[in-house]
Amino acid sequence: QRGETVRIALIDPQSGLMGPVGINQLRSFQFFAEKFSGAGNPAGVRFEIEGFDNKLSASETLTAMQAAIGRGIRFISQGNSSGIAGAIIEAVNRHNSRNPGQEVVFLNHSAVDPDLTNSRCSFWHFRFDADTSMKMEALTTFIRGEPTIRRVFLINQNYAHGHQVARFAKEMLARKRPDIQIVGEDLHPLAQVRDFAPYVAKIMASGADSVITGNWGSDLTLLIRAANDAGYRGRFFTYYAGVTGTPTALGTASEGRVYQIAYNHYNMGGQMQTWMNEFRQRFNDDFYTGSIIHILNALGVAMQNARSTNAVRVAHAMSGLRFNSFSGPVEMRRADHQLQQPLFLTRWQRVDAQHPYSPENTGMTLALVRRFDAYVASTPTSCAMQRPAAPV
């Protein structure tokens, strides 16, 4: 396999309101494909990334996927929108059963709906992000120790991921902090809302002291901007405060009030820090989708183990694979193909010596509040995976 070229299709929005996120991820993929190619990975393969714009639409995604497969690409990556990820899983299952010998593998970099590795789990799907339940587990563990939080408002995007955030927030808060009152809950359309002022007015009227939201991209940017404009002073617990555009929207007005729960953060130090600085140098943008590094690491190790770049062999090799990545040793759990990894809770504040990385030149950063080890945030799975026979 040494010297072979492995082509990965990245199918994500590259236009529209969520375009900035997809474009950032495409650049991240290309950046790290360069870094990890050849000697950069144990298998010695060359990674090549092809971007497809799915306009955040499931059917466009499948059309793009067909095109990619038609061009001989066998590794598909996507992550923006769990709904679409679900559609890909089904399409991949279908394709692989109808076209033996042309199997493709789905590398999910960010779609975090827990169902994808539970009720809808598939052998061909690998998730490198931490799913919603894991993140909420960690987040609520933190909230348990914060007595000032009494009234919580849930605002989320009206689709798979948003539903899950709301669901797990209610479930886990009820379990860990039964005294907390959910004073309001809203689901708004995904990537459609341009004016969040009415929602913010509602949040303020509810008297909430904290907001939990799984929003990302423009849906978070505009929400926080509207909240700042309207003078909202409560805390935000988010999943994606670091994504393109959001740091600027947070600005100094949100200092100390915005939290992010994720599997990475701005000030990881070490090799990661040099990469991030270099990335910013090159693209004038911040690298935040750390799972891309996981993916390339995992592929390299798996291809070496399988001695092949064949998708089926690589899939088998990845299932249950333990490998090292930027946050230490991680494991692709065999039972459901959910990566087990540590999580980090960070808070928005001014940069200082320990927290030097400032996204979008805001002079602010996300500073580590607490690290959760993989086992703390790990959640059980109900996946009953159908495994094809391993090739000989």
Partner: protein
């Protein structure tokens, strides 16, 4: 009297048989000529687009009803067909049942046209256009809000293979789906053509031209519009149902305003004044969306420009252009124009290529600088940092534009002269 009738009818019918057989033959043999999976998928999509555009034209071209929400009927047809496909799978029906899915889509389209058409067709003209726009947006937004039926942004997907192959057919392989669609396409086109030759198909023309007078010859224009609307909805639904089988997934854009707009745009490009115009439109639609968009990122810009120029200079669409030249040919005058056409073609090509190069380079600067400075264009490599390339492109564009304009002027004079002659000729024939 009877003798003339005989002679009038006979040759036309022969021609008609010939055309329809040719059409069937093309549908049958096309996948043998273009046999890549992309090509077959495109041809299947063309069948769908043709039916959708034709059904759209039942409203616009034949009925004078400008609909901004035609995708609703095709799209809801797709959704219902998709749910039906899911049910079929669950119910364990035999494979041939899949062949009926498009029909289910058709009935869904009919049903929704019956439902919404009742209010939309009360009015004609601008009010009609606006209600269809409203209903279209309503359904589009509803499709993003109601999850059970529309499946949210993930859409609804189903497996078209519902069981073991039946006579070797499982509808899994693309080619089998293509032939299913081809059969439907042929039947639907034939039916839609036949419809134009029926009393209702003619009265709707009268309603288009002068709804007021229609009332005074005994017809209720609202009823006429409503009936036609339902028939159009039915065919749109069939197109939608076929899409369900072909794509196995449906998301909300199929009922959205952009899709409705494309039907309008391409039906118009093809030409709404002739029956076959939208067929051309449907084929172009797929070419544009699938192939054009592969070739260039700027395809929407080209499309918009082509469209605007078509409306300005050839409002009859491509079908109109064809028929105009056919008329010339019938009077034996087409030959005179070849030099002009050649001049026009050559200068237009030069203009197109140079403009294309410019647009491509600008697009590249905008979108792809991270991927290097060189744009591949028609086998050339254009370096966006090289000023000479820019200068050359601009120069070629300007000169070819000037030459084109010269050619166009002489052409339009020539054209006008020929038309005058033909008018005279017709007058002469009429009087003799």
């Amino acid at each position: 009297m009877t003798a003339t009738k005989y002679y009038q009818f006979r040759p036309i019918n022969v021609g008609r048989w010939f055309i329809w057989s040719l059409f069937a033959l093309v549908l049958l043999l096309a996948p043998l000529v273009f046999d890549s999976s992309i090509a077959i998928s495109m041809m299947a999509q063309m069948g769908i687009a043709i039916i959708a555009c034709l059904s759209f034209n039942m409203l616009l071209g034949q009925g004078g009803m400008l609909s901004f929400g035609h995708a609703v009927y095709a799209g809801l047809g797709t959704y219902v067909a998709m749910h039906a496909l899911l049910l079929l799978g669950d119910a364990g029906l035999p494979v041939p049942a899949v062949a009926l899915i498009p029909l289910i889509g058709g009935f869904a389209g009919l049903f929704f046209a019956l439902l919404f058409g009742y209010v939309t067709t009360k009015k004609a003209g601008t009010a009609f256009a606006m209600i269809t726009l409203g209903v279209g947006e309503l359904i589009f937004i509803a499709s993003m809000v109601f999850f059970i039926f529309f499946g949210g942004e993930a859409g609804v997907s189903a497996d078209r293979v519902i069981g073991e192959p039946f006579w070797g057919i499982s509808f899994g392989p693309l080619i089998e789906v293509y032939y299913l669609i081809a059969v439907y396409t042929f039947l639907c086109v034939a039916l839609m053509f036949a419809y134009t030759r029926t009393p209702l198909g003619r009265i709707i023309n009268a309603v288009r031209d002068n709804p007021e007078r229609v009332e005074f010859i005994g017809y209720d224009p609202q009823t006429v519009r409503y009936l036609v609307f339902m028939i159009a909805g039915f065919f749109a639904g069939i197109a939608g149902g076929m899409a369900a089988v072909l794509f196995e997934i449906v998301t909300s854009e199929v009922v959205g305003p952009i899709r409705s707009g494309s039907y309008l745009l391409f039906a118009f490009l093809g030409g709404v004044t002739f029956f076959f115009g939208p067929i051309i439109g449907g084929i172009l639609m797929v070419l544009a969306f699938v192939m054009f968009s592969e070739i260039t990122k700027a395809w929407m810009l080209y499309l918009g420009l082509i469209f605007v120029f078509m409306v300005m200079y050839a409002p009859g669409g491509i079908a109109g252009l064809i028929m105009m030249n056919l008329r010339l040919a019938m009077f034996g005058r087409l030959g005179e124009l070849w030099a002009s056409y050649l001049g026009l073609g050559a200068t237009a090509l030069a203009l197109l290529v140079s403009m294309g190069a410019l647009i491509e380079m600008i697009y590249h600067l905008q979108l792809g600088t991270a991927m290097g400075d060189v744009v591949p264009f028609l086998g050339m490599s254009l370096n966006t940092l090289d000023l000479d390339v820019w200068f050359g492109a601009v120069f070629v564009a300007l000169t070819s534009f000037g030459l084109f304009e010269l050619c166009r002027r002489s052409f339009s004079q020539q054209w006008a002269a020929i038309q005058t002659d033909i008018e005279k000729e017709i007058k002469r024939r009429e009087t003799t």
